[in-house]
């Protein structure tokens, strides 16, 4: 009942405070593209189908856990309810293998995110959103997914540097996210944790359209080099995470991105992996049906 009341409150807020927001993560000249490991601050009608990643987790130094290799094939569907309020549904199929044992595979738990685009400043290419992600425990395969869920309130932001005086730095932008995950368990081995993510991106489309037209061929003019940082920490150990440098190619109605997954530090205890994503902008593909807000 309490959750329903919160959802209704979000809906009312969205209807009361409509801004000049648009799909595609637009704030003035700036478009914040969907990034692969850090959720962008916009609310949009989009589909990531699929996102694929592969990474090897090294054996625990004390020998308590063997090394594993994880492949993840994920789907994310983001749907606007109103112009500024949206939901996102994530589902991931995992394959986990370890030396000397057979591969296990199955669905991970389902995640649902409610996100509200709270403020957009077109002149300063800034936007911020708030959201909450709910992992529904025991919705995945028994051998893969945890039996308990979690709730993560989140704060998102995006800032384009288009107001810098040095023209070739104006295509730069940063986005970020801060969240705190509360698990639905009293298990002594599971601790609530902070999640931090941020990206630094250099938009060549911005360079071409707003700074200087270098006459670049389309294959280069549509690229956004990006580096993403994802860190998780709790009070009982060092932070762990990934650094993901890569590139996004954004066309009118779709985007392809590929990045390396580099361990954030020694404590992350992983090898270099890879993540790739094919992304569809549903508001461009179906502008009059599933690509527009419900209300």
């Amino acid at each position: 009942m309490k959750k329903i009341a919160i959802h209704i409150a979000f809906l009312i807020l969205a209807l009361l405070f409509t801004s000049s927001a648009q799909a595609h993560g637009t704030a003035g000249n700036r478009i914040f593209p969907p990034t692969l490991t850090v959720d962008d601050p916009s609310v949009a009608d989009e589909l990531s189908l699929p996102t694929f990643s592969y990474q090897r987790q090294n054996a625990a130094p004390d020998g308590s856990a063997p090394s594993t290799r994880t492949s993840d094939l994920g789907i994310e569907w983001d749907k606007r309810i109103t112009e500024n309020l949206g939901i996102g549904l994530n589902a991931d199929q995992l394959w986990i293998s370890q030396d000397g044992a057979s591969t296990i595979h199955g669905w991970d738990n389902i995640n649902l995110t409610l996100k509200y685009l709270a403020y957009v400043n077109p002149d300063h290419e800034f936007m911020t959103s708030v959201g909450v992600t709910r992992e529904f425990g025991d919705t995945g395969a028994k051998q893969i997914a945890s039996s308990f869920g979690s709730t993560t309130p989140k704060l998102y932001f995006g800032k384009g540097l288009g107001d810098l005086p040095i023209s070739y730095l104006r295509p730069l932008a940063i986005t970020g996210i801060v969240g705190y995950t509360v698990f639905d368990t009293k298990d002594n081995d599971t601790h609530n944790e902070w999640n931090y993510g941020w990206t630094i991106q250099y938009s060549i489309p911005y360079l071409q359209q707003h700074v200087i037209d270098l006459g670049l061929p389309k294959v280069i003019a549509n690229l956004t080099p990006v580096i993403e940082f994802n860190v998780t920490s709790n009070q009982f150990g060092p932070p762990t995470g990934t650094i993901a440098p890569g590139v996004l190619y954004t066309d009118q109605a779709w985007q392809f991105g590929i990045e390396a997954l580099i361990p954030y530090n020694r404590a992350s205890n992983t090898d270099v992996g890879v993540i790739a994503q094919f992304h569809l902008f549903l508001d461009d593909i179906f502008p009059k049906s599933i690509g527009k807000p419900i209300f």
Binding site: Q22, A23, H24, T26, G28, N29, L47, L49, I75, Q93, W107, P122, S167, P205, Q208, Q209, H210, V211, I212, D213, G215, Q252, A253, F281, D283, D284, I285, F286, P287, K288
Partner: protein
């Protein structure tokens, strides 16, 4: 579950439009070019967009470095290319730096806006 996913994927991609999608209109190129310096003051600007635009809901402003708006300007759509806006000026631009602020609505009603600069150095 896997069969359902495969079927859903087929259904989704089968429903994708076969022709060109109706997307946001972004600036593809301009004359004078974005960030360029020209030696002859233009009497007309041309803005090429990535999608066809609705002339009724589109506007272009040309502003001097000092903040003065040049005008009145006349905006027309190239009859043979609905993705190209032509901005006719009352007289050729004189020496100086200019900011072009555009705001357009594509034919599928997506709104986009942006700006860029160019310089006239006679």
């Amino acid at each position: 579950m896997r069969k359902a996913l495969v079927m859903a994927s087929f259904l989704f991609f089968g429903a994708l439009p076969v022709g060109k999608v109706l997307a946001h209109a972004f600036l593809s190129s301009a004359v004078p070019a974005v960030g360029s310096t020209v030696t002859v003051g233009p009497k007309e600007l041309r803005l090429q967009f990535s999608e066809a635009v609705e002339i009724k809901f589109s506007s272009v402003k040309i502003i001097t470095e000092g903040g003065k708006e040049i005008g009145p300007v006349r905006i027309t759509l190239n009859p043979s290319d609905p993705q190209r806006l032509i901005v006719s000026l009352p007289e050729p631009l004189t020496r100086g730096m200019y900011i072009v602020k555009w705001r357009v609505v594509s034919v599928d009603t997506h709104k986009t806006q942006g700006d860029y600069r160019f310089t006239v150095r006679q």
